[in-house]
């Protein structure tokens, strides 16, 4: 949070001394905390999701826990003191017992919140974190009418009565942090919940410990290496299943060993979870109620059996789904840690213990559908992110804002009651507001099998890495340019007084201009994360994606402030901002890096848009850096002198790649995948380098070639299982075919397949061209030539109108250029391709042997 920097950090300091428990200091707590029966861990708080379950919000909320009123009252208090707390998050709790204050419908809540906000983006999350720290006056006092500044002392007195939020809590011997995954008790009286064996017992000898155990991938039972028949030396690579499961799969009956008399099988937490006797959840926030109990807001995980689709055949045994369902639970109900991992972590976690689970999908409990969890790494960073964390991030207290901002958005759908759901139908999804609600619906009912069970072949892997969308791990061949960009940006940012500067980057398409800049910005962000860089604000705009050039003001203003205004107003505000008047947004003093892609699209007739944008950096205290990207080298020279003098000073050229660089790019992408012949890559890169030097083109050619090879192997695999030459490897032939497809125009083939009279017409046009020397020929003349030829060569005479129709058809495919057919005999025709192509295509046509003598 930028706002805690410098002066406002004092506010936090004072708060620290006042509050008994510091947000950063871990609170040690004994389990002997008086668990009054009323506060017993709430069983049934989480909606039970049976196979038949309808979206059961009502069920989940129909609990009659006495804890409720207290919580609600706590809310009321909080609502009183901070009006902007009417986030939907609070609403979720108060569905059954609505607080007397805000009875507003969700959308009005949102709207009112918007009105109350200062025009900063981070404010919605402010209330959550603000509790331990009294709000810094300068920031929030003005816009929120319900919190006048003089209330401040009162609030501090009331401090202990309020919830205080923590990032990390040590409770009952365990250390729980926001973002951790935990087991949660389901029923208080569940059998043998008390004992919780950490170590699993062997399924054969029923003793735990004593040697390495291996887990069966099918029944998840543990086995000592020595107990397996035949005994294993070491843990096998890949999938392994025990002899009982294998027997079962083969259809044989094989009795599993029974436990010795008198010994009860103790189930591990994992087994209980998978048998739906326990829950797993992820902690989203932790707080202490005024009465001293510790609570957590959790996001539930769900086992496949509990989804509407049921367990599907491709589900892993240890698979869980994340839901969009959140609940408040008492810390008492939390058992201990478990580890829910994404596919990549899961693959790497070989022997991380028993409490490891796999989670790849999110499950929507309202719509009963699935969605892949997005990989955050692949997403371009959101722009306001860099400012979300304090500048000196390496000090030891960390506010929990980032987590909050995360679920502030995600939470809204979950908290929608039925009334809210009705409203979602009214909000149009393609308008601005509706998008937040509407898009929840999209998801797939069942996870398709082919996605999960598909083993990728080498060729398919190659295709995937060659995709343009795949971000390469490194950007080869652009080190120099990237270095230059990053020094430019750093110079601009690091100087205390950011002198407005402008960098113009040019180069032909597909030479990595945008990618390099984005890579630099990513690197700078990681530098900023490690605390060596001042915070800055990065705005990225693409000229071709703007509806009109003037819209750029609107977009910039929206990125800075989060508000939408018309472009004229936005221009006014922005000019004021950069010329040192009233500043927009909370990051008012941060330097702004503005990246404009496809800069040439911003040209208007009087070039005022470009002028304005390039004029801002020259103002003192503007703190603005502009990076413009375009294709043409001499764009600044083409502009008005007053613009080119502002833009053309610092330039960076991205030259086309040469073949070595292209080869390096392709090879670096294909590292570890053995699907391409070496010469094939070299051939492709040489060819592309000779034509355009466009890396996209080179990658596409390689991908196309891989597709050809894949198609070939699949077809041959269908026909017969024999392996032919170059099977599964992209060879020269494939590259050749791909290059053909990309670079060769298809007109020759079409000419070869023309109707007979079409060919005659084309040849007659070439003939006329040579006779008259003029490109254009009148249809009348052409037709008489065709007729005389047909007459001489004893062909059936076509009608005039037939000829005209054929001409029009050829004109449609642009083999010839012609005027519209209503001109009949006066129509003018012209060949669209060189006459040599026609000669080449029609020299030996089998159905018209006499044609060649006219060529």
């Amino acid at each position: 949070m930028q706002k805690y920097e410098n002066g406002s950090a004092n506010g936090r300091q004072t708060a620290r001394t006042l509050t008994p428990s510091l947000p950063s200091v871990t609170v040690h707590f004994k389990s002997t905390f008086p668990p009054s029966s009323a506060f017993l861990p709430v069983a049934g708080e989480r909606p039970r999701m049976d196979l038949s379950a309808t979206p059961s919000r009502s069920k989940s909320k129909a609990k009659s826990s006495p804890a409720k009123p207290i919580a609600a009252s706590a809310e009321v208090q909080m609502d009183l003191c901070t009006p902007s707390k009417a986030t939907p998050k609070r609403k979720s709790k108060s569905v059954t017992s609505p607080p007397p204050t805000t009875p507003a419908t969700p959308s009005t809540v949102r709207r009112s919140r918007r009105l109350l906000d200062t025009p900063t983006k981070a404010n919605p999350e402010a209330p959550v974190k603000a509790t331990p720290t009294p709000t810094s006056k300068g920031k929030r006092a003005a816009p929120s009418p319900k919190t006048p500044a003089q209330r401040e002392p009162k609030r501090q007195r009331r401090q202990p009565k309020k919830r205080s939020y923590y990032r990390k809590v040590v409770y009952d011997g365990g250390e729980f942090e926001v973002g951790d995954d935990v087991y949660v008790k389901r029923r208080e009286d569940a059998e043998s919940d008390a004992e919780d064996p950490e170590a699993e017992e062997c399924r054969v000898c029923f003793r735990s410990g004593g040697g390495v155990m291996v887990e069966c991938d099918m029944c998840l039972g543990g086995f000592h290496l020595r107990c397996v028949r035949p005994p294993l030396r070491r843990v096998p690579e890949g999938d392994w299943s025990c002899q009982y499961c294998e027997a079962e799969r083969a259809g044989k009956a094989m009795e599993r060993p029974k436990p010795p008399e008198g010994k009860r099988i103790v189930r591990t937490a994992k087994e209980k979870l998978l048998a739906s006797d326990l829950w797993a959840a992820r902690i989203e926030s932790l707080w202490r109620e005024p009465d001293g109990t510790f609570w957590a807001k959790v996001r539930w995980y769900i086992i496949p059996e509990e989804t509407a689709a049921g367990r599907q055949t491709h589900n892993l045994r240890r698979e869980l789904y994340r839901t969009n369902d959140l609940g408040d639970i008492e810390m008492e109900t939390i058992l201990r840690h478990c580890f829910v991992m994404n596919p990549k972590e899961f693959r790497d976690a070989n022997d991380a213990g028993d409490d490891v689970f796999y989670c790849e999908y999110e499950y929507d409990i309202h719509w009963h559908n699935f969605k892949r969890l997005a990989d955050i790494d692949d997403e371009p960073e959101t722009k306001e992110d860099p400012s979300d964390e304090p500048y000196n991030a390496n000090t030891d207290y960390i506010s929990d804002t980032d987590e909050d901002s995360e679920y502030d958005e995600e939470e809204e759908p979950t908290s929608c009651s039925l009334a809210r759901r009705n409203q979602t139908h009214e909000l149009a999804a393609n308008s601005r507001k509706g998008r937040i609600y509407g898009l929840q619906k999209i998801g797939i009912r069942k996870i398709p099998e082919h996605v999960r069970c598909h083993q990728k072949t080498e060729l398919e892997k190659a295709k995937a890495t060659l995709l343009l969308a795949t971000l390469p791990k490194s950007l080869p061949c652009r080190d120099k340019e990237m270095e230059e960009i990053s020094t430019f940006v750093k110079d601009a940012i690091c100087n205390d007084q950011c002198l407005g500067r402008c960098l113009y980057i040019h180069g032909v398409p597909g030479t990595g201009k945008t990618m390099s800049v984005l890579a630099v910005m990513r690197r700078l962000r990681s530098e900023f994360d490690s605390g060596t860089l001042r915070p800055y604000c990065f705005i990225e705009i693409n000229g071709l994606k703007l509806a009109s050039p003037e819209n750029i003001y609107k977009v910039i203003y929206e990125q800075l402030s989060g508000h939408r205004v018309g472009w004229k107003k936005a221009l006014h505000y922005l000019t004021e901002h950069f010329s040192g008047g009233t500043r927009i947004g909370k990051q008012a003093n941060q330097p702004i890096v503005l990246l404009i892609d496809e800069l040439d699209l911003l040209l208007t007739r009087n070039q005022s848009v470009l002028y304005n944008i390039l004029d801002w950096p020259t103002k003192p205290n503007s703190n603005l850096v502009v990076i413009g990207i375009a294709n043409t080298m001499d764009l600044p020279e083409k502009l008005l002198p007053r613009i080119s003098s502002r833009m053309g000073i610092q330039r960076l050229c991205f030259g086309p790649y040469n073949f070595r660089q292209l080869q390096e790019i392709i090879i670096s992408r294909l590292k570890g995948i053995n699907a391409f012949e070496e010469q094939a890559i070299e051939f492709a890169s040489r060819k592309v380098a000779a034509m355009s030097g466009d890396a996209r083109r080179a990658l596409e050619i390689c991908r196309r070639a891989a597709e050809f090879a894949d198609y070939r192997t699949k077809q041959s695999g269908q026909a017969s299982l024999t392996c032919n030459r170059g099977d599964g490897v992209v060879c020269m032939g494939d590259i050749e075919a791909a290059i053909q497809e990309v670079f060769q125009a298809p007109h020759i083939q079409v000419m070869k397949n023309c109707p007979k009279f079409g060919k005659v017409i084309l040849v007659a046009m070439v003939h006329e061209l040579y006779k008259s020397g003029l490109g254009e020929v009148m249809f009348d003349k052409l037709a008489s030539t065709v007729f005389s030829w047909c007459h001489v060569n004893r062909e059936l005479l076509p009608g005039y109108d037939t000829l005209l129709k054929i001409c029009c058809k050829l004109g449609e495919s642009k083999i010839i250029l012609c005027e519209e057919g209503s001109k009949h005999k006066l129509q003018k025709l012209q060949l669209n391709y060189p006459s040599d192509d026609v000669t080449f295509a029609l020299k030996e046509s089998p159905d018209l042997p006499w044609l060649s003598k006219y060529l």
Binding site: N551, P755, S813
Partner: protein
């Protein structure tokens, strides 16, 4: 009674045949079996991008009537069956949506319709663009592929090409999962793209060319032969098929097909021809005969200008001949008054009975203009009186001579006038 029964069987058979000819998936069903057709290539392309979750763009090129759209439809139908939940389809046509904002709105509308979201007409084009990008992301996360079918692709390549740019640029992110299929009859459609759009386009091209003679023959057999299980009496089917094989074996039939192919070998043309032949089917005998095909061919090869020439009155023919004479005299520009002068001089010289007043001639002249046998030489001078605007002849001398020959009521003088000019 028996005749009535036979007729009903015949009309049933006719209905079956017509239904087949109008069903593109039946017409092109032969494509499904062979691996080298455009159908299987396109299907492989699209289905691999559905199953491997990648983005693709492909352009289908070829003259009109070669079955581009039919192949796309077939592929989409098949894929919808294979992946029922995972495909949503957006169809745009360059004729309707060449304007970028309008196309964006249409995309948003179809996406909303497909996913049962409510749609607002008021949303701005920025909103719609953002919505599309969000939807691409969400659908990608849910393993759903969005297929964009852009018909008349060349018309999208006008102006700034913002639509194509934002579509192809959105496909460069990893979460999206989309296929853009462009269909165009312009062979140079990919050359029309602006350089940065072209750089993002993946340059997959499938070329559709008219089928060869053998293919057409196979297609005709496939379409006209009745199968055993088509619900008609077995005896009728064997009789019908036997006759049809006879016809197919005939040299004359091959000649018919040949002359059809010489002008236009596309599948759609063949279908039109067959539909006519089936419609000419004799209901009493209940079988297709050679005459049906012959008359279908002649109806396919009509020469509309010739036909309208044959319908002209004598006076109109006089006017055409006068115009022809004027053009032959290398008089580059002439109008109604100069035509009338020529007409009068002919009348003076030959003293025919076809002498009409100038107003009558003017009406005949206007009629000729309406039939587009003659036209104004230029589009300027709209406010000029019709008589003084320069005109041009739109038919050739050969056509005129032919029509005079065919016209039985035509006076000999006219022929002579034309001939003399020609051979003197």
């Amino acid at each position: 009674m028996a005749a009535a029964a036979a007729e009903s069987v015949a009309s049933q058979a006719q209905a079956v045949l017509r239904a087949r000819l109008c069903d593109p998936s039946f017409v092109h069903s032969a494509l499904r079996s062979s691996p080298d057709t455009n159908y299987s290539k396109l299907k492989y392309l699209v289905s691999s991008s559905v199953s491997e979750a990648c983005n693709n763009s492909v352009l289908l090129l070829g003259p009109r009537g070669c079955g581009k759209a039919a192949v796309v439809d077939m592929v989409l139908d098949d894929l919808k069956k294979e992946h029922p939940d995972a495909i949503s389809l957006i169809r745009l046509n360059g004729m309707l949506h060449s304007d970028d904002n309008c196309a964006m709105k249409e995309i948003a509308r179809q996406l909303c319709l497909e996913h049962q979201l409510s749609f607002s007409k008021m949303a701005s084009s920025d909103d719609n663009t953002e919505f599309m990008i969000d939807m691409l992301r969400e659908c990608g996360l849910a393993h759903k592929t969005i297929l964009f079918v852009l018909e008349e692709f060349d018309l999208f390549a006008q102006g700034k090409q913002r639509l194509l740019y934002s579509l192809l640029d959105a496909m460069q992110s990893l979460t999206s999962q989309a296929v853009v299929i462009g269909v165009s009859c312009r062979l140079d459609a990919d050359q029309l793209l602006e350089k940065r759009v072209r750089s993002r386009f993946s340059h997959r091209k499938l070329l559709f060319v008219p089928s060869s003679m053998d293919d057409i023959q196979r297609l005709v057999e496939h379409l006209l032969m009745l199968a055993k299980d088509s619900g008609l009496p077995a005896k009728y089917i064997t009789d019908y098929n036997a006759r049809l094989t006879n016809i197919f074996g005939d040299k004359k039939f091959k000649g018919i097909l040949n002359s059809l192919m010489e002008a236009d070998p596309t599948t759609s043309n063949i279908l039109r021809f067959l539909f006519r032949a089936v419609s000419y089917m004799d209901m009493e005998s209940g079988f297709l005969s050679m005459e049906n095909f012959v008359s279908a061919l002649s109806s396919m090869q009509r020469q509309p200008k010739m036909d309208s020439l044959l319908d002209l009155s004598i006076l109109e023919l006089y006017i055409l001949v006068c115009m022809y004479r004027l053009e032959d005299k290398e008089q580059s520009s002439y109008n109604f008054t100069s035509i009338m002068k020529e007409y009068r001089s002919i009348q003076e010289a030959y003293k025919t009975s076809d002498k009409y007043a100038s107003t009558v001639c003017f009406r005949a002249f206007e009629h000729l203009l309406d039939r587009e046998l003659i036209s104004f030489a230029d589009s300027k001078g709209r406010n000029q009186a019709l008589e003084y605007r320069p005109v041009k002849l739109l038919i050739s001398s050969r056509e005129l001579a032919q029509s005079l020959k065919l016209n039985t009521t035509c006076p000999a003088v006219l022929q002579k006038l034309l001939d003399r000019e020609r051979y003197m």
